[in-house]
Symmetry: C2
Subunit: 378 residues, 2 copies
């Protein structure tokens, strides 16, 4: 048997936590940001460069991968690690969120959800059991239960129905995970807290899930357009309930500010398309805030984005050149800015981890936010 | 004064030539293939990776760069080498060919050509003097005279008119190049042989240009849709006329087969969008012919494109993965296949150079063509 999935808390500072997850593909230093690699590729980057930014884990999307190239095909090719050339940890979602946001002609019942592919209209079914089966075929190190994420705003009754269904699906997901030998392979399965923006429902969900033997816990159904204050309030509600010795993953979050505020409330893992998507749209995240390279003010600027950065893309190319690439629609513009953003997110996480270890997370948070607000010329 | 532009013939094998061009930015081993970097970027590649494939020189397009970001802007930013981060040799074309193929509302007379930008309709003028001025502002190591490339098929009278105009523009280009101190900077200016598909006109053009003090000679107006036999015939016509101690550059060529046949006829330099464009369209060039990654036959193939390649893109990714990337339109597919193709073209040139040195070019040519024809399963 492989070494089992484990989580170790190395240090805390207030509610902020510095830890380490061990999976069959290495150590994940937490708090961790997981770049999104929807289809087995972090868009417009080489995996070697993703790794060099300090990422310990990337996320794959079950919905996309089950449609193309197909879970059985990936398994026959040796699993998602080998297929994608990413040899560190992979986390997969359950597919549920994308079924609800992308697929057509969905029909959901107790058993699961049937839908038509948004690509070719082909019919598929996703049940808790099939979602875990797919994630197992992909060889995912950290898997998610299938859940239902009710779209907000919604009536509390509807939010409760989705939350309760998700709890029943949590049990079925867990059974399937164990039937497939996930624990023996050292993989982890996370339960997902639902309950929308209703604190009492979040509490019920967190309590019920905590009683089940998950390796970690996700907070789902947030970062879907609600104000940041609502998101942080929901984290505050579940923080004291979730087991302290398990990792907590805030799904789909977020901006650098969302991340730093959520770490302050005990969150250990994050994923978001923001750094990669922004990179394809001419935006750079930096320690002094965002830069929009569509803006003509960069046209004659010989400076690199950040001469102090370890990232070649931020250090070795002029802003004028990057502006030119973005303006002319050259692929290299997206390649460089995606790299800049993934590197900045990782350097932010490294700063967060160092600060927690040093017992100065609050100062780091204040300094970091001040630098964003001040901008580079402040 | 910098070391002057120079060309040295190191070996010959039949009419095939192995040589070395020295420019202010290093040595160009010939026969050389120059990847196209139209806008100061070899599309979808990092310059470090271009360099690692063995390319000694890339091409920039004067027409595109004069419109965006503008020659004066590039000069203010330190020149095209610094702007693009390519620190080896840069060759630029004159802009004439793209004006005729891309720009709108062209008006040509003895003085030059006025046109509207295909991007924003702005009015511009390109004369022999302005073309050289732009190439000087870019800091190009190997510059081209402005010429007129008459579209084939055309009446011999019309071909002759364009060829004669190009000869007069050759003189004006040379005067401007010397006025700008090109020779003192160690840069080179090439005259361009025109004359369409009319042997007697090609002879006149080659003879007249040979009497002018150019650092090299281009063969223009070919690879525009004519049969390969016509192209090779035109090379045969000019080969005995052009000075043997100057490099010969066949513009816009071509397929691997075009290249090997042209080397056999004394050509030293090539450029073509084929490897980069094909890479963005799912095609790989390999030593056993072309592979089309849109084809579903690659879907379950765990093999790399070529395990014997030095290129990581050809060696470290499965065909199944590359097919998946192409099928899903992921940027990484274009990034990998462009890299594969640029690397294959460079390895072909290295093979050609080695074979000429070893006095076995004809054998190499036969073996290489047999391998393409046989395919990998032959």
């Amino acid at each position: 048997m492989t070494q089992p999935f484990s989580f170790r808390l190395l240090a805390t500072d207030g509610r902020a936590r510095r830890g380490e997850i061990v999976t069959p593909h290495g150590v994940v230093r937490t708090p961790a940001f997981m770049p999104v690699g929807t289809l087995g590729t972090v868009k417009a980057m080489f995996m070697d460069d993703v790794k060099a930014t300090g990422a310990d884990v990337v996320l794959g999307n079950t919905y996309h991968l089950m449609l193309r190239p197909g879970a059985e095909r990936v398994a026959a090719l040796g699993g998602l690690h080998k297929f994608s050339t990413w040899d560190k940890t992979i986390l997969t979602d359950s597919g549920g969120f994308q079924v609800m946001s992308l697929a057509q002609l969905r029909k959901m019942d107790e058993r699961g959800v049937t839908f038509q592919s948004h690509i070719d209209g082909s019919r598929h079914e996703l049940t808790p059991e099939r979602s875990i089966e797919i994630q197992g075929l992909l060889g995912s190190d950290i898997q998610m239960q299938l859940d239902e994420c009710v779209r907000l705003p919604a009536e509390p009754k509807e939010v409760e129905r989705g939350m309760q269904l998700s709890l029943r699906w949590a049990e079925r997901s867990r059974r399937q995970f164990e039937a497939m030998g996930g624990p023996e392979k050292g993989q982890g399965l996370y339960g997902i807290v639902q309950g929308g923006d209703v604190p009492s429902l979040r509490e019920v969900s967190a309590r019920e899930l905590s009683a089940m033997p998950f390796e970690g816990y996700s907070v789902g159904g947030l970062a879907v357009g609600e104000p940041q204050a609502v998101m942080l309030k929901m984290i505050d509600v579940v923080d004291p309930i979730l087991p302290r010795d398990k990792p907590r993953y805030l799904m789909g979050v977020g901006t650098p500010d969302d991340i730093i505020e959520s770490v302050a409330r005990g969150i250990d893992q994050f994923d978001c398309v923001m750094p990669t998507r922004a990179g394809r749209h001419g935006l750079a995240y930096t320690r002094f805030g965002k830069l929009n390279f569509k803006n003509a003010r960069h046209m004659d600027d010989p400076r690199p984005i950040d001469p102090t950065s370890d990232c070649p893309a931020a250090r070795d190319y002029s802003r004028a050149y990057i502006h030119h690439l973005v303006r002319t629609g050259e692929a290299l513009g997206a390649m460089l800015l995606t790299w800049v953003n993934v590197a900045y997110y990782q350097s932010l996480m490294q700063g967060i981890r160092d600060a927690i270890e040093a017992g100065r997370f609050e100062e780091f948070k204040a300094e970091t936010k001040a630098a964003w607000a001040r901008g580079e010329n402040g």
